[in-house]
Symmetry: C2
Subunit: 248 residues, 2 copies
DNA sequence: GCCTGGTGAAATGATGAACAATCCGAATCG
DNA sequence: CGATTCGGATTGTTCATCATTTCACCAGGC
């Protein structure tokens, strides 16, 4: 289905194989996708806090594109869960309440536990990206780069899920992580907390490498997710209270 | 306010509760969504075989809406995976190859196995929708209603996944089932096969009700999914070969 | 004969303007 | 003081238009 639309009948030649990666990259994204990417960055980096209205005309004006293009971009982000779309009321940066956090972690427990199982009897070579992400977290924490630690955290779990080998699951999981970023952009962690979190991931990585049993791996991932959920849940509650107070 | 007084400001009263379903249905209907729903039905019922091009102008003309609205509807369906969008080439009804089937079942195994675990220690009352879907399959099979059996099958697994209690997972799973429908619309099962499939689901349902252990439930679901995958994989291969021959 | 290269039609990508429908807030009235 | 009504602002939808890209067809050279 997603194969490059090369010839239909002839077997793939070496010429095709050489350009196989590039053909996908050459496909320039449409302007709507570019706009969506810009807005996505603005949202995830915290420039547009949750709940911010996104008027079509002002966005079109400031970004220099047509209103229809903005509408398409907002539809894209709405499908990703980063913006909420209310009929005849417009688009707003999505707000995650505690129920959303709980919902996301219900999914994460299911998916990542299975991924941990897949990790124990996987080729050790396939676990190298995991270790690299964890080491990147440690380096970022040592350099005091808090956002780098968060990025490494996201990347670590993304690569863990990718061990399951399903492109649909990867897309789904990445979309959920995009939602989580709505909260992550708001949290300022201390340096010691960042280092502790990085160390935890490295430790988890080693546990998976010298994998004992599938059930043990499941348990370790589940234990790892618990503190993360309570922290984000608190953040979501605080944001909600602050918003309610501000609205009053 | 002209027609049905869908009040805008008053707090939800018992009056609203009575119309609760209708207001939700009415509010959710922008024309783009309606168009998407029409096309979705056409695709899943097999009127538009996989690979069919979907030109914007002719669709806009035949459905009596603007081209922009068609574009939005096509984007919606593209996000759902029912149509593929190629830049500057347009939209086509999605084509599922064997890799897609394998990918979908990789996900189904993970999700539904967890759902089966959740089923064993769930309130028996929550399993009633499952049984109802299975019984609906049996009734449809007895009446020779093949599409009814398929619908019951979809519904059975949808309700099984909903036991996990995650709205995001529900949406994700429903989207995948929409993709599977692309193949299901093509298969014509014999009456005896339909009856066997219905019986299998009822049997599976009972096994979950008198649930023994979580691992046993996992195993039963996984065993149940195997024949389904091989069947759909064969269908996908046949469709692919037929399409290749037709293109030549 | 097959491949390379140009040409033109057709479809999409994107813009701008316009109108109707709707929501929100503020002024108005009892 | 509360409910109603009115007007501005925003969205939903359509139309017309132009630029880009793709594809199919045809000509020419090896």
């Amino acid at each position: 289905m997603a194969m490059p639309a090369t010839n239909g009948s002839v077997a793939p030649t070496e010429v095709e194989a050489a350009f196989d990666i590039d053909v996908a990259a050459i496909r320039r994204s449409s302007t709507a996708d570019q706009v969506a990417q810009v807005l996505r960055a603005k949202i995830t980096e915290g420039a547009l806090p949750p709940g911010t209205p996104l008027p079509e005309v002002s966005l079109a004006d400031s970004l220099g594109v047509s209103r229809n293009t903005i509408r398409e971009a907002l539809r894209i982000l709405a499908r990703e869960g980063l913006v909420e779309h209310h009929l005849h009321r417009g688009a707003f940066v999505a707000v995650l309440d505690e129920e959303d956090i709980a919902d996301i972690f219900r999914v994460r427990r299911i998916i990542e536990a299975s991924a941990a199982e897949a990790a124990v009897d996987a080729d050790p070579e396939r676990l190298r990206p995991l270790r690299e992400a964890a080491e990147q977290m440690v380096a970022a924490a040592a350099a005091g780069d808090a956002s780098g630690v968060v990025a490494g955290d996201i990347e670590f779990h993304r690569r863990l899920v990718s061990l399951l080998g399903s492109s649909r699951l990867n897309r789904f999981f990445e979309g959920m992580q995009g939602e989580l970023w709505l909260c992550l952009a708001m949290v300022a962690r201390s340096e010691s907390e960042s280092q502790a979190m990085a160390a935890k991931h490295l430790e988890l990585c080693e546990a998976l490498e010298h994998g004992s049993s599938p059930t043990a791996a499941r348990g370790q991932i589940l234990d790892h997710l618990v503190p993360c959920e309570v922290e984000l849940s608190e953040i979501a509650r605080d944001l909600g209270e602050r918003r309610a107070k501000l609205a009053r």
